[in-house]
C-alpha cells in the first residue's frame, strides 16, 4: 500500500526524521509509537505533503509522492486525520463532512457523496444528531469522530490517524479503537500514531517504535507487546522493579 525508503525531513536546521524506512500492507493496521517529539506527527505530515520531504521516497500506489502537494495526495487516496482534530470550527458538522468529500466532487463522483454521508452517519450516529451544530461546539470526542468521518468521506485507500485518543475519556477511547478495528474489517488500511501504546498494539497487526527520528524497533504487535524494552518504555511496566518486589 505504502512504502517509505530512507525518508528525511526537518524544519529549518532541525533534522527530525533520519532515514526512515517502513511500509504498510493493504488491509493492515500499523501503529507507530514513540515518546513526545520523536517525530511521529512529522512523519504523517510528510506523507500527506504538508511537510516537505528532504530526501528519500514515499511510494504510494506505485508512484513516488514525496514531492506531491497535499491536495494531490488526498486525491490519490491517502487521507490524514490530523493531530488535534483540526475540524472547521465555524462550519456545521454536515459542512465539515461535505468538505471531506471534496475529492469525490473532483473525481466527478458526486453521486457517491450522499451514500458516503449515510455511511458515516451509521458509523457515528452522534454526528447525524449533531449535523446542524457548529463543529467548534462539539465535545472533544465528537470532534475526533468528525475528524475521522471527514477523512473517511474521501473514500481513502489508506487512512492515517494522529493520536485519535488524545485527551479523550477511557470510554470514548475504547469506542474510537473499536471503530478503527471495524474500519479494517471493512477492508480499510490504517496507519495509526498513538501515545496509548498498549491499546494501539492490541488492535494493530504490526508496529514501529520511534525514538528521536529513528525507527528503533519493528515487529508484529504480539512480539512488541511481550518485548521487554517496549514494555518498560511504553507500556508502563518496570520489570526490574517488579522483579525486586
Amino acid at each position: 500500500m505504502i512504502k517509505i525508503k530512507n525518508l528525511e525531513t526537518g524544519y529549518g536546521k532541525l533534522k527530525v526524521l533520519r532515514r526512515i524506512s517502513m511500509h504498510v500492507n493493504p488491509g493492515e493496521i500499523v501503529t507507530i509509537i514513540g515518546a513526545n517529539g520523536a517525530g511521529k506527527t512529522t512523519l504523517l505530515n510528510t506523507i500527506s505533503g504538508i511537510v516537505r520531504t528532504r530526501a528519500g521516497e514515499i511510494i504510494f500506489d506505485r508512484q513516488n509522492i514525496a514531492k506531491f502537494p497535499p491536495e494531490k495526495i488526498v486525491l490519490m487516496g491517502c487521507s490524514l486525520v490530523p493531530e488535534g482534530r483540526q475540524v472547521f470550527p465555524t462550519m456545521t458538522v454536515k459542512e465539515n463532512l461535505l468538505l471531506g468529500a471534496h475529492v469525490l466532487y473532483l473525481k466527478k463522483r458526486k453521486g457517491l457523496i450522499k451514500e458516503e454521508l449515510e455511511r458515516i452517519y451509521t458509523i457515528f450516529p452522534i454526528l447525524e444528531d449533531r449535523r446542524h451544530q457548529m463543529a467548534g461546539t462539539l465535545s472533544g470526542g465528537e470532534q475526533q469522530m468528525l475528524a475521522i468521518g471527514r477523512a473517511l468521506m474521501s473514500k481513502p485507500k489508506l487512512i492515517m490517524m494522529d493520536e485519535p485518543s488524545m485527551g479523550l475519556a477511557p470510554l470514548i477511547v475504547k469506542e474510537i479503537f473499536n471503530i478503527i478495528r471495524k474500519l479494517r474489517e471493512d477492508g480499510n488500511t490504517v496507519l495509526l500514531v498513538e501515545q496509548n501504546a498498549k491499546a494501539a498494539l492490541k488492535i494493530a497487526d504490526r508496529g514501529y517504535v520511534f525514538e528521536t527520528g529513528r525507527i528503533v524497533l519493528e515487529g508484529t504487535s504480539d512480539d512488541m507487546l511481550t518485548n521487554k524494552d517496549v514494555q518498560r518504555a511504553y507500556l508502563g511496566r518496570d520489570l526490574d522493579a517488579e522483579a525486586k518486589l
Binding site: S48, G49, I50, P69, P70, E71, V74, L75, S79, L80, P82, Q86, V87, F88, P89, T90, M91, E95, L98, L99, G100, H102, V103, Y105, L106, R150, A151, S154
Partner: protein
Amino acid sequence: MELFFQYMVAGITYGAIYSIVAIGFNIIYNTTGIINFAQGEFVMLGGMIAVTLNNFMPLPSAILATVLITMIIGALIEMIFIRWLVNPSVLRMIIITIGISIIIREAALHIWDEKVRALPYFTGTEVTSILFFGAHISPQVLWVIGICSVVVVLLNLFFNFTMRGRQMRACASNRNSARLCGINAKNMVTLSFVLSAGIGALAGCVISPITYVHYDSGAPLAIKGFTVAIFGGLGNSMAAVVAGLILGILESFSI
C-alpha cells in the same frame, strides 16, 4: 424633518459604498489573512475603465466588461505578487499590497491622466430626483444602495450554499485541514482576489456618477473601507455592512 431624511439618505449611500469596500477587504482577509491595501484601487480601476469603455459601448455592457477586466487584473496581481510567497509575515504583506496599490495608481496616471471623470447617471441625469418623505433623492443613490444590497445577499448565498464558497471558508478556517480535504488553497486565494476585484470594480461603477473618479481616488476609499472592516470586526461581512452604514450616517450628520 426633510433635512433629516436628506442627510440620512446621503449617509446610507456613503455607508453602502464603505461597506462594499470593506467586504472586499474581508473576502481576501478571510481566505488569506492578508489585508489587501490595494482594494481601493480596484474601485478606482472600475470607475476609470468603465468611463473609457463607455465611449465605445452602451453602459450596461461597459460595466460588465469592466468587472470582468478588473477580475482578470485581480487574478494577475495575485499570481504575480502573492502566489509564490511562502508563509509571508504580516508586515511583508502590508508592504507588498501597499506597493501594488502605488503601482496601480501610477499606471492609472499614465494610462489616463489626472482629470476627474464620471460615468453618466444610470437612470435620469444629475437633476432627476425622487421625492421620498420630503427628501430629494437621486435615482443613482437607489442604484448604489440596491446594488450593494444585492452583492451582500449574493455573497452570503455563495459562501453558505455553494461548494466553492464552502471551500473558501474552509481555507479561511484552517488552511492545512482544507488542503487535507483536497482543496487547492492557492486557487482559493486567487479566487478571493478575483471576487474582491470584481466587487470593487462594480462598486466603482455605481458610485462614479456621484463621487467621480480619478487616478488617486482609490486610497481614500481604501482607508474608509479599512476602518469599516476593522470596526465591524475583521472578516465579518454583515458586521461590515452595519459598521459601514454607521460610519456613513455619522459622517453625513457631522458635516
